[in-house]
Subunit: 514 residues, 2 copies
């Protein structure tokens, strides 16, 4: 635990909290997106029926594997599945029937109720990158991530208007023991931000630590009755559910905490080298995974996920922002909606090593597809670089700025009388201009989305200021946001209790690395 | 005329042409896009009706101005419009009725019939940037464009698989006299490429030169019966049609050549500061402009265009890739389809001074919107930089590469038995991998879109090769394409005749500059 997220900032609560609030930099946070636009549907009814039928065939004939998990096998058997060894075959319709108890949307609570998010239906909740072992910035290049980097990303997310969710493993704090870093990560999300966050999934008992720390933060009674975490449970594609991930899922489901049940697929390697084949496999995997969550606890909140990319057949590297990823993301959105489940997909995906044009084309492709696919929870919405190996500070603020465009597109087109602007058209007439007219004066401040990052200065000004590219502008913005950051107020007793929990847990076992 | 487009390359035709063909670098050119995906519709029926009704009200009550054009005023009066001075007011329904004679799609012929394009319906034809007075590359920075730059862009377009159309003023050859540069530009399109191209619109007699040169290239009879040019006619928004542009339109329409009739709008300046207001104005302008083309010659091919951007209220600069531009582009697509006309919009739009991340985010936003809006002709699809002031060589090949993704998305999802890949799912089963399976071996080469530009190398290889960013990769690709370029074969007599036309025209009047 660095001093930054810990004791030195032990202001907050009581008089100190009130003083902090008075001097606080006002941060603006957008409410999660509620779409007022249609979803884009790439599959027709016939295609949907083919894929859904094939997915049922996969579950019945090929089945899925639940590895090292006798309790799961028993649940499946009792539910009517054909269990042979670790292979579970589901008669047609069984998985779909079990999925029916999962809620179509749920509220994830934040410690600041103004930051609560609703996930499902027409909403879209945006969360930062998850999982990179490296970080990069222009000054320091690419290097292993530390807990200090992690804390910076939590602060940047807290300061970002368009990110609604603090995420989970925004980068791997590799300087903290493997068996203890989840504690520091949770503590950072809980103390440095007041946005909702994710729990640990790397071992069932770390999931339990997540639940226990939430009980301190929210109160045990509140946690028993409300969802306060959404955590990422990956399926080992193809068609395999390992005991680590399922163990974490079991802990969360039993505690009524939400899980994203998501294949992690590089198309051509972990799924067939075709869109329809991949859609079939992902549908089967989601059906089995969500059904299992409902066997553990009917009604447990879950999100059906699809993390899908293609493979570059030259290098074997995953590729991003591709047409095939677009097709799969659109198609899975349709299939998941027909299941009545919240949907997770898309993100600031790119293969580039640098936050350059390649990174931005790829990312923009994916972000736009995500919006129109009806995604409800977008993990990795900012900061992803180099196929997810790297969390980039500059790209984080670039992506976070672009997320504003999704909010504005999602609003749809206002056709109220004021927006029709017939008065303006009459006032200006042929050959005039609108800059000074009454309608423009009344509306220009709110009319257009405005970037907090991009350059639109006159060429000469831009040249005089050093011909800065997007990376340079982003670097300056990262510094400013971190300089302006102030921790949201917190009761000192809560902070003390959280830190005591972390200290005790850390003292209870030796460090493990690797 | 530089030597490059002219005499030195006077091979082609007869034995020389056959020899050239044998040694030619094989270039791959994709057929224009035929969409097998739905269009995205942001406006509901009620919104569409409001905007269409308001547009009719604008035409009837406010009207449009036809400036310095008594012949146009007479045509309007005879057609039933209320003409007072230069103001033309159209009774409701008149413009829409006149638009009905415009074809819903047309074929633009290229001198190589394999490069003919169909514009309208579900097609999308891609053409390069148009109009920048400056060029930029990493080596030379930003500088005034020359005819040598122009010729390079024509060659790059010819070499680009995903560009179907050679465009028009890909950059302004500022080293050639204003009154003669159209001749050199046309000659470059005609001799250095065999893709379809645009005519000159900067004066009616330059439009006539375009027609006359086409008669040499295609034969007068062919031109009389076929469309061999699509040219860009801008409306002076708001609601004004100037005599230069209308004069060019008249020449093209009278010769059955196609025109894009397109407002050029910076929202908030040349149109109201609201999406619905801008849609109303653009609809009125398109209705009046297309109707006028049909007064000149019923059945003349036209494209209804919408070039729309927002304004940055701080700097007054136009902004690109914005949510408002997305709304307008989607909405105008719906309105233009209801008019039964081909649609032009979107492009590689960006405000950035450099081909950096900002440029790529903005561009990708616009390209994706263009595809899903049902655009039929996308001018500016590659190479646009700095609000259209600059044609960038590196960005040109970046954008041209991204256009491949539009082709693949447009194909839709294949759900034939082979694509369903059930054999692969059965062969691999839980926990396996698909790289070696029969389905992958049979399909991997064609399964995924492949970039010709982006980097997916292992990190170490990339680092050893100098940590090149997209600009560096693109610079190398520009050089390679220009090195590999070979002019398509052409009959020497045709070339001689074209050059004689240009020489005679140039000799017939003194140079004009400025």
């Amino acid at each position: 635990m660095s001093e930054d997220g810990g004791r030195r900032r032990a202001r907050g609560g009581g008089g100190a909290a009130r003083r902090a609030e008075r001097t606080a930099v006002r941060i603006e946070v957008a409410r999660f997106i509620e779409r007022n636009i249609p979803n884009f549907e790439v599959l027709n009814e016939e295609a949907l029926q083919i894929i859904e039928a094939n997915a049922e065939t996969v579950l019945e004939e090929i089945g899925v594997a639940f590895v090292d998990n006798p309790a799961a096998l028993k649940l499946w058997k009792d539910a009517g599945a054909d269990v042979q060894g670790e292979r579970v075959r589901l008669p047609k319709g069984l998985a779909r029937k079990l999925c029916a108890t999962a809620p179509s949307s749920y509220v994830q609570h934040a410690r600041n109720p103004a930051r609560n998010v609703e996930i499902g239906g027409r909403t879209l909740v945006l969360a930062p990158v998850y999982g990179p072992p490296f970080v990069r910035d222009a000054a320091g290049g690419r290097r292993y991530a530390t807990i200090a980097d992690f804390q910076k990303f939590v602060k940047l997310t807290y300061m970002s208007k368009w990110l609604h969710h603090s995420g989970g493993t925004v980068c791997e704090p590799t300087d903290v023991a493997v068996n203890k870093r989840h504690l520091d990560m949770l503590l950072a999300h809980m103390t440095l931000s007041d946005k909702p966050f994710m729990g640990s999934v790397t071992e069932p008992r770390r999931a339990q630590d997540s639940v226990d720390m939430c009980k301190i933060l929210f109160g045990a009674e509140f946690v028993a009755e409300n969802t306060v975490m959404t955590s990422l449970i990956n399926i080992n594609s193809p068609l395999t559910f390992d005991s680590t991930m399922m163990g974490a899922l079991e802990v969360f489901a039993a505690n009524n905490q939400a899980s994203i049940i998501s294949p992690f697929i590089v198309g051509g390697a972990m799924a067939p080298v075709s869109v329809a084949g991949t859609l079939t496999q992902v549908t089967a995997e989601i059906l089995a995974g969500v059904a299992y969550s409902q066997l553990v606890r009917p009604g447990a909140p879950v999100i059906a996920g699809a993390f899908v990319t293609s493979i570059d057949m030259n290098s074997g590297a995953p590729t991003f922002g591709t047409p095939e990823a677009a097709h799969i993301t659109y198609g899975m959105g349709q299939i998941v909606r027909r299941l009545g489940l919240p949907y997770r997909s898309a993100g600031s995906f790119c293969g580039s090593k640098l936050p350059d044009a390649q990174a931005a084309y790829e990312t923009s492709n994916s972000l736009n597809v995500g919006l129109l696919s009806g995604v409800n929870f977008m993990l990795h919405a900012a900061g992803w670089l180099e196929g997810g190996l790297v969390a980039s500070f500059e790209k984080f603020v670039m992506d976070a700025d672009q997320l504003g465009t999704l909010h504005h597109i999602a609003r749809g087109v206002d056709v109220t009388v004021g927006a029709q602007a017939m008065d303006a058209l009459r006032e200006v007439g042929p050959g005039g201009h609108f800059l000074g007219c009454a309608h423009t004066q009344a509306n220009f401040k709110e009319a257009f989305w405005r970037t907090d990052l991009f350059d639109y200065k006159p060429f000469e000004t831009w040249a005089e200021e050093g011909e800065r590219d997007t990376v340079a502008l982003a670097g300056a913005r990262v510094e400013k946001l971190l300089r302006d950051y102030q921790a949201p107020p917190m009761e000192p007793a809560t902070r003390e209790a959280l830190m005591a929990y972390v200290d005790n847990k850390k003292a209870s076992e030796p460090d493990a690395f690797g």
